[in-house]
Symmetry: D2
Subunit: 356 residues, 4 copies
Amino acid sequence: MTFGKPVGVGVLGASGYTGCELVRLLQSHPGAKILALGSRQYKGIPYAQVFPGLPSVQQNFDDDVTDPQVWIDKGISVVFAALPHAAFAERAKSFVDSGLQIIDLSADFRLHDPQQYPLRYHFEHPHPDLLKTAVYGLCEWEKEAIGQAQFVANPGCYTTASLLAVLPAIAAGLWNGDPIVINAISGISGAGRGLKLGTHFVEATNSIMPYKVGETHVHLGELRQVIGKAANVTHPCVIFNPHLAPMNRGISASIALPLNQAISQAEVQVLFEQRYVEAPFVRVLCGDELPETRHVRGSNRCDIAVRVAANGKMLLVFSAIDNLIKGASGQAIQNWNIMQKWPETTGLSVEGWTYA
Amino acid sequence: MTFGKPVGVGVLGASGYTGCELVRLLQSHPGAKILALGSRQYKGIPYAQVFPGLPSVQQNFDDDVTDPQVWIDKGISVVFAALPHAAFAERAKSFVDSGLQIIDLSADFRLHDPQQYPLRYHFEHPHPDLLKTAVYGLCEWEKEAIGQAQFVANPGCYTTASLLAVLPAIAAGLWNGDPIVINAISGISGAGRGLKLGTHFVEATNSIMPYKVGETHVHLGELRQVIGKAANVTHPCVIFNPHLAPMNRGISASIALPLNQAISQAEVQVLFEQRYVEAPFVRVLCGDELPETRHVRGSNRCDIAVRVAANGKMLLVFSAIDNLIKGASGQAIQNWNIMQKWPETTGLSVEGWTYA
Amino acid sequence: MTFGKPVGVGVLGASGYTGCELVRLLQSHPGAKILALGSRQYKGIPYAQVFPGLPSVQQNFDDDVTDPQVWIDKGISVVFAALPHAAFAERAKSFVDSGLQIIDLSADFRLHDPQQYPLRYHFEHPHPDLLKTAVYGLCEWEKEAIGQAQFVANPGCYTTASLLAVLPAIAAGLWNGDPIVINAISGISGAGRGLKLGTHFVEATNSIMPYKVGETHVHLGELRQVIGKAANVTHPCVIFNPHLAPMNRGISASIALPLNQAISQAEVQVLFEQRYVEAPFVRVLCGDELPETRHVRGSNRCDIAVRVAANGKMLLVFSAIDNLIKGASGQAIQNWNIMQKWPETTGLSVEGWTYA
Amino acid sequence: MTFGKPVGVGVLGASGYTGCELVRLLQSHPGAKILALGSRQYKGIPYAQVFPGLPSVQQNFDDDVTDPQVWIDKGISVVFAALPHAAFAERAKSFVDSGLQIIDLSADFRLHDPQQYPLRYHFEHPHPDLLKTAVYGLCEWEKEAIGQAQFVANPGCYTTASLLAVLPAIAAGLWNGDPIVINAISGISGAGRGLKLGTHFVEATNSIMPYKVGETHVHLGELRQVIGKAANVTHPCVIFNPHLAPMNRGISASIALPLNQAISQAEVQVLFEQRYVEAPFVRVLCGDELPETRHVRGSNRCDIAVRVAANGKMLLVFSAIDNLIKGASGQAIQNWNIMQKWPETTGLSVEGWTYA
């Protein structure tokens, strides 16, 4: 495919880990030309000074604009917002009204029910009306809607790893409604670039740390919303136990989903393979293979394996993604590719970094 | 407590990770004097040359004896066997008949049913009659039997982390019999010191790797045997998903146990605290605290936290141990302390190594 | 630049770490089409089964050919040899005579003096006459000779990091001939994929391990050959202390070079900047910046910083590379690009993987 | 040795890494009873809540006192000060005058020349007169003075690793006065528990990072003071290049010291062995062995190896310590043991944690 004049791109929150990853990916995307790198903290500083691993990004940080017109005047027509939760919600209305394409990587527009925001994210949503405008950008399940969207809410990292793993079974009507138990293990970059004692090297290395287990993690809102819709259940029962592990990137999810009918290992394998046969970024493993985060690191791929257990009472699903790519910036670009009718894989890699 | 003349100790398999850890702990144990360090591979070589971190062990490796009389003649009265699976089974009869105290760290005498060995461990048990002689050394649950034992089968590492976490609820009759889902994450030392591609630094670092998931891991035999007995069920349904994480030591277990009755968070908390009130090596965490493997590293402690979830349908239990200590060599010494009527904590630490 | 029909490429030793990295890089190189993946060990097995991070490589391993005609018949015109030391030397003559382009990543043809091989590499060189045929492929210093070469000996990883750092000063005549002290720290992938106790995760993690220090490391042959030539000295005095650090990739070199004249910090800075002004893969840092291996990981870049110390008596040079890329497979491709008169950067990245 | 009534101990700065390590070591020291745990930040909070790895420390944090009488009234007779630089200097006079034994782990009293403080530590020393009162507590070289001291300045971590390595040669008159080049690699705990971007897990992992190289690191003051005194030189030329590596603990130092005379490898080996023959915490390695930080982790030991290189022109010395133990808290306790005329090894371990 030949790309004409590249599209002007702006990144809000370009100094965080997902922002930096967006910049890294976008600068080699044949359809993109980065025109603005928003950051309140680093405004005016050369990007490559803050991220010396990216010397080709020869621009300075720009202001973290609230008025979209400033960026439209620069020639920007798509904005990737990688701001902390609540920050983009504030400025969303003017951005949406301006006609810009928007992919928001925060949680601000992932949930349809405004009442979830004070509960889970501790802020009153300033634009509850816009919650229905944003399309939930789980690419492999919402491709058609994304293709017509102006405004996409990019899914959470844990959510992506979990939903890609359970939706084929739930959509096929195999779930009996008993609690789905999701255990997930994430690399430390998932906790962001802000300074916290828990992400100090000396505290975080050499340890496995469960946190916000059971029903307390913010991603449960998304998980229940999508699973509930797929299963046609109002209050789906989902338990989610996240853990941190001493590595930078990667989410490994191990899920137990109670089945409502006898189904063989071979049938489930076929079900999953067929569901994702046209998805370039999902690989259903076969035989004894299980997803390891090292094999997806650096790629936009999600590896999945399924096992029937407990005499057919339980389906086990295992998945692995790179949390900064398929779980954030890569999926954001995949969403943009779909919005632009470009090949889904444009500027994204199916291959991982081996032995990074 | 004052110790008189220390007891002569021999270690079979002193060059593996659990063997080395036994040696490290025993050399500062006030009741022990190490008299033999068995190893086929390193026979005759100075111990501190193979393990330069232990310069005070000023002995050479001894032969990996099969005739116990050789060690009895040296003044040894207790043998810790840290051999690969199947290796101690071969020589067990003569050791038991010799009257030596034995703590076997392998799986060779953990299971009562000889038919499990060809199935799970791929060898025909040479001494099925002895399987009932060995006491299963889960210290906090078999203290009385251990106190009268000559021959103890030390539990597996994953098993210890899992059983200490679920047994209080199961013994209290709270389990409804639906599948218990155990997810566990282990440091790489659990895979042993033998050379395998999967434990090469470059392969194992920066990754989470599930393996032998569902119903395929060898520890399921032990798990089901003990859980079945506690629940009075012949074929208890237990799903076990182990994972490797890039750290040396530690097991983090996250368990979902379906409940048969309404029970409050406070009641479960009290149940667990009371069950372990006299156990010096179990700490039941309270409030928001969750077990992190870094806090038990270097100690013989098991940290446990409980949460009631899914409107009382599910009990979540989280535990953490140091796999080489509470999950192997430390528990072996704890077993020996109990056999000797010494304080359970002799030569063992409740404290961890902070920031190791 | 537009590439026509891609060139057929074969990789000998495609299952090692440098082999795998060659494959990863070559498969997205616009001028290359991989036609053979040699491996004695894995012959016939799908490549992506051994390296699941590279699902797009949809070929099986081929035999590790000794007869070049087999590969010429497949349409191959360039061979990258990533075999263990001594293995390519055996088959070199027939490959060279066949007219194939050859880039050898081993040490077999780096040294001009055949007597060095028994001394340093413990084998008698089978084709001493060919030692002068091979061009030493240090791209930034031998570009012209490489451009005319059929057969290139790709430099060692430590050597590349060290030579790029010291040659500007030595070529400018600043060295006084006293011992150059090179300390270097490498990630574990530098030790290869073969199984050794020293690269077991549990042994190698959490430690800094000096090894083969002083004048014992094999790379000293290369270092002295190139430094001696640049300084016009027969026996240049170079001390080299390598260390392993717990990370996969990266070499950090810290070098002290005794100066023979007063030179200011500013003058040295200019000297280095000018020497590399046209080198796309060398970045001379300025101000307080120092090379960190994380900033070059995933790239073919070498970062360098210089400091004058000890009242002008000593030049300190610091450099960092990704040992598998600029220190091996990336430089090999850079050599091929030069041989092919393609832009040096074809298929290679100046950017690193941030936070890999 | 039998200890009578334990000595009351107070720790200032008990919430930092060296403070925590002091507490861990002191609580199992047979001569110590911890009576106060000073911390401005955590005052009133249970110690084991901040450091859950140490459940036996059943005290709350106390105030970070400035008036020593408060602690004397509690029965304290020795104070370990583990405060940030400049903080103890402020209160030193009243503590010294009070007659308390003091071991200060900061740099505030390591240097004799008050003019060094504004230059290197950016503060005007408030009590320059006291700089001569404090004894520099490098145990293996100042044992006699320490034995008579009330007030000891505990050496820096890099300094300890470097001085123990070079002093035998310098004291023997072997140094020719040309620049000594010290390269050292430290674990991240050396950077302290304060939050900085550079010690965020995601930034610090998988990288080697030189910093403050050449003549800019604060420890150069100590290094030059002690080396100058030993060599009888006013301005000894020492170059010091520190690096951070992705591990918690450990310093590996690799030093090149220019020799003024021909000396054989065997002679140097004997020189070092004899110098430390009575030092329980220094091990001079022989043969091919080199110090690895993993073998000293958890111990108060310093491992050293020596090599003559460059035809006798250069002595290479390699050393390894645990920066938090021999490089800080362990040496502080060793100093206290000497002050108290107790065996030097009381409460300290020669053994490391194997595979921590």
